[in-house]
């Protein structure tokens, strides 16, 4: 009897906290389904009296909104591909290949965890602007605008993170010994070992890292704010912020736009949940 009571209390507490955590989200969904009349009338209701989906069509047909979504998708995908490829390559090398200095290099990358990119935006901005032979620049990086307002300018900085390399290294370190030796004797090149043996084994790692990087790229705000100039290069996060600059905020459209920008992230998370919870299954040596 006592255990049942405790278990019940446990669920009640879990539920209360869940409501606190989800209420803002639920309220956003509720607002996005209401017409203006209901949004501005009191008392507030959770469930709309006259729900409608036209808010969504209003937002999507608003100027440039699909473009913003596409830009965010391109940037997030670009960062994910770069991160997955280069972080796994470096992580594998640091974990399994023996070469002089690898301990120091790993420590250096580890220490770089703590560096927030916000304190580096100025030199990175200048670097992107003065990138030689880009965006109208000559070989010394002068004359044009470099990578400003381009996809490369949006994607490259911050594409690779020290945490990514760290996670990959930890993962590869946990694989069974001497997987590679068998492959070497069979005549495989070092890159071949990485490409044909290590990568296929690291699917759970790549899934988790890929999802985290994609979300990071999609949600990024400060850097796109600094590097984009024209409307057509803006990402969805910048696009949301522009709904604010009017004198009177259109809450109806703003909340709907917010919801649209958040849905892809939730979908990706739900899809990836399987990989987050799936155990890592090695097949060992074949």
């Amino acid at each position: 009897m006592n255990t049942i009571l405790i278990r019940l209390c446990h669920y009640v507490v879990l539920l209360i906290i869940a409501i606190i955590m989800l209420m803002p989200f639920i309220w956003m969904v509720s607002t996005s389904l209401k017409p203006d009349v209901e949004i501005f009338s009191l008392p507030l209701r959770l469930l709309p009296k006259t729900p409608r989906l036209s808010n969504f069509t209003d937002v999507i047909s608003a100027a440039n909104f699909p473009r913003y979504l596409a830009n965010s998708f391109i940037v997030a995908t670009g960062k994910t591909i770069l991160e997955l490829f280069f972080a796994s390559l470096a992580g594998y090398a640091l974990a399994r290949l023996r070469f002089p200095g690898r301990q120091y290099i790993f420590l250096l990358i580890l220490a770089s965890f703590m560096i927030p990119y916000e304190v580096l935006v100025i030199p990175i901005f200048i670097l992107v602007k003065r990138m030689p032979l880009a965006g109208g620049n000559n070989i010394f990086g002068q004359g044009g605008t470099g990578g400003i307002d381009t996809y490369w300018g949006l994607i490259m900085p911050g594409a690779l993170s020290p945490i990514g390399v760290f996670l990959c290294r930890q993962f590869f370190k946990a694989l069974p010994f001497s997987l590679e030796d068998a492959a070497r004797i069979d005549g495989s090149s070092e890159f071949g070992i990485y490409w044909r043996i290590m990568l296929p084994l690291s699917k759970p790692l790549l899934a988790v890292l890929g999802i985290l990087t994609f979300i990071r790229g999609w949600n990024e705000f400060m850097w796109p704010l600094l590097i984009t100039r024209s409307t057509k290069m803006k990402t969805i996060q910048l696009g949301l912020a522009t709904f604010l600059t009017r004198d009177t905020i259109n809450w109806r459209l703003l909340m709907t736009a917010c919801l649209i920008s958040v849905i892809p992230m939730i979908l990706i998370y739900l899809l990836g949940l399987k990989y987050f919870t799936k155990g890592i299954a090695f097949t060992g040596q074949k």
Binding site: Y11, P116, V121, K129, L254
Partner: protein, 304 residues
Amino acid sequence: MRIKEKTKEKRRRLLIGFRKAEIRAGYLFILPAMLLFSLFLWLPIVTTFFLSFTRWDIVSPLQWAGVQNYQRLFNDEILLKSFLNTAVFAAGTVIPGTVISLLLALLVRKKIPGITVFRACYYVPVLMSWVAVSLIWLWLYESQLGLLNQFLQQVGIPQQSWLGDPKRALLSIMVVCLWQGVGWDMLIFLAALQGVPEVLYEAAKIDGANVWHCFWHVTLPWLRPVTLFVVVGYFIWACRMFTPVYTMTRGGPLYSTSTVVYQIYMYGFTRLRMGLASAMSFVLFAFIFVASLIIVRIMEPTER
């Protein structure tokens, strides 16, 4: 005899060849990562340091300014207030954040039916971008129509100005940030909790420990390294705060929510005072670095 020596020699050469290939591959594989880190992490730190002694707006030629920027930093009211706000923000979110994340993790630890749903619910705010989070809370905090004020009115408390009151605005933003962030560290604590060996609890129970003893003498000590990681993580995260300030209050009212990174943006990118902004950046970087070391020292005094 000769044949044996010949094959030994061949094998030796083969193994040396493998080693050489391995070393070559090692350097080659880390090259792209090292290049990107050098360009976008390590070089920029040095550049920030040098730029902090200059006066530059990108279009005009670079001018040397000595320590003028630093002098301005320590004498400007608004900039000093921004540093103070950032420090308050850090102090006010690190401990509550760590405690709440730990409590949540303990709450969702047991594999009772439906627990994965609750875990996912607590993580949803983390998935949302700072912009989306800020906009939703801007709507929730709205004076007349915001959900929060309406709810308070129902229970008899008068409407409050959450973001318009200089004494309250920073706290309001801190609540938003905590709401967004606790889910992430909850997962970190959860992962650590799931690694506690059962035998430790069994041994404690044999010695007559109750639930509280188990927590205090088994769970907490086990969580020490992870807690340090979480605390430093929160600290750095708090010092970086920009987007909620930009979206919700633009540093106001009366600079009560202005953070260092916000001022870096204002001075560096709206007024093109790159030198001054670099000085702020470097001071913030040094502050984060030193403070992190101090935190580690405090929490991990034993040398291993």
